[in-house]
């Protein structure tokens, strides 16, 4: 089997597991919905549409960040049952294929959340973008990948530590800060239509490339870290 086939096998396994249980997607979806409602308590989106436009880009990403953190821990905890992870370490397939497969699976899960959440967001916060709305189709996948690639990596890193649920956000958020800045700024620029978001999209793409390479190179070290 070549590398792509290994990745596809891991991906298929993760999708199948999720399809049978549907725990991660349902959990994330409900959590993200709750975050939307809680944020709406902080300001009145219907009477102040320009404020809503300025801050809802940030709110969307913060909601997605929280929701994906809750799911990322679970996605690796699955591998701990019956020593599956140890079996993965013994398997002759490259370690990074396991990582890439799981990261793509997580990307698909969070994208499903976004497809459901984006219209809900637009309705609840009374949004109609003033910039080029189609750019969101570029920004959302790039931003999600930035969160997911590092998130999947750090979830694996904190897997065998004490308090792993606590550790993941503590290490993920500082590293993801430039990406969060870029995705929030790009989304806000699209919604308000005041500034050109292309700089932030480029930054996001660069961040994605750099950290994907770093994760793939260092994953084997993390997987065998004891």
């Amino acid at each position: 089997m070549n590398y792509a086939q290994h990745v596809l096998t891991h991906l298929r396994k993760d999708l199948q597991l999720e399809w049978r249980a549907r725990e991660l997607i349902n959990g994330m979806l409900f959590f993200a919905l709750l975050v939307v409602v809680v944020f709406s308590l902080a300001f009145d989106p219907t009477s102040y549409p320009s404020i809503a436009r300025q801050i809802s880009g940030g709110l969307l990403w913060v909601g997605l960040l929280f929701a994906s953190i809750t799911a990322l821990n679970q996605s690796w905890a699955r591998e701990l049952h019956n020593q599956v992870l140890d079996a993965q370490r013994l398997a002759p397939s490259p370690a990074s294929a396991l990582f890439v497969g799981k990261a793509i699976a997580n990307l698909i899960f969070v994208s499903v959340i976004e497809i459901v959440l984006a219209p809900v967001f637009a309705i609840f916060y009374n949004l109609h973008p003033l910039g080029q709305a189609w750019l969101l189709l570029v920004i959302l996948p790039l931003g999600t990948w930035a969160l997911i690639v590092n998130g999947t990596f750090f979830a694996a890193l904190s897997l065998r530590t004490r308090n792993r649920e606590l550790l993941l956000p503590l290490v993920l958020c500082p590293i993801a800060m430039p990406a969060l800045l870029a995705m929030i700024q790009a989304t806000t620029n699209v919604l308000t239509g005041e500034l050109d978001p292309s700089l932030w999209i480029k930054l996001l793409a660069a961040y994605d490339i750099v950290f994907t390479i770093a994760c793939v190179l260092l994953f084997e070290t993390v997987l065998n870290a004891d």
């Binding site: 500082p174 590293i175 950290f211």
Partner: protein, 248 residues
């Protein structure tokens, strides 16, 4: 039993170095306090002589941390003893980074209050600086929360990520704030020539002090590693002195 192991004593050259460092610190303090009053801020500006050296130095220690983490991963399988030393150095550099960045942040808010009348402004430099502080605090948190046999590897991986992240952070925040120019202060502040000697001596003094704290922390961590290793050896079943005759 008093342990008279030679390696446990504070070496003479380190005492001399510490004495020199304290001398330079005192001289730097004298220079900072005897510099002429600043025209608009009066005496309050003197915190600047501590803020600038600490802030500059706290961008040097992360590089030491990153290099040590890289060397740890490189030597881990090739030369485990040297790898342990690299890990101790990475820990020391990470802690000194947080220390210097904390001092930089604290003096920065004092300076901000004196210069602009507000404690904190989300301008480019302060935001980058806060993110640097957050990154290395998360590094120390990771070291706290991981078990002994994984600590070195996992924290080295995080240190590499942090080292990649620092320049990206720096550039992105710059772009962010050039899109929305901050009203409080622009780039290219000039320092008048009369203040340069005080700045120079304080920079040297805090660099010497940082190197001293780093070395001390490194030595303490090395000692802890040796003790842990000795404990491991003495508690392992092979080396335990077994009684020759066992009465049952």
């Amino acid at each position: 039993v008093i342990n008279r192991d030679k390696s446990r004593r504070f070496p003479v050259w380190a005492s001399l170095y510490l004495a020199l460092t304290i001398l330079v610190l005192v001289f730097g303090f004298y220079k900072a306090m005897s510099a002429p009053r600043e025209a608009t801020m009066g005496n309050l500006y003197r915190v600047f002589f501590y803020h600038l050296p600490n802030a500059i130095l706290s961008f040097v220690f992360p590089y030491l941390n990153g290099v040590a983490a890289f060397l740890y991963l490189f030597w881990r399988t090739r030369n485990p003893q040297r790898a342990l030393a690299a890990d101790a150095f990475a820990l020391a550099a990470g802690e000194v980074t947080v220390l210097y960045a904390s001092v930089g942040l604290a003096t920065g808010t004092l300076w901000g209050r004196a210069a602009w009348g507000i404690w904190w402004a989300w301008d480019a430099r302060m935001t980058t600086y806060l993110l640097l502080w957050l990154l290395y605090v998360s590094y120390l948190m990771l070291r706290r929360l991981t078990s002994e046999n994984q600590k070195a590897i996992l924290s080295a991986v995080l240190a590499i990520f942090a080292a990649i992240d620092v320049p990206i952070c720096f550039m992105s925040i710059r772009w962010w704030r050039t899109q929305h120019p901050a009203p409080v202060f622009g780039d290219g502040g000039e320092v008048a020539k009369v203040f340069l000697p005080a700045l120079f001596w304080n920079f040297i003094a805090w660099a010497l002090w940082g190197a001293f704290v780093l070395g001390l922390r490194y030595a303490i961590e090395r000692r802890r590693q040796r003790n842990a290793l000795a404990e491991q050896v003495s508690s392992s079943p092979q080396s335990e002195p077994r009684p020759v005759l066992e009465v049952r």
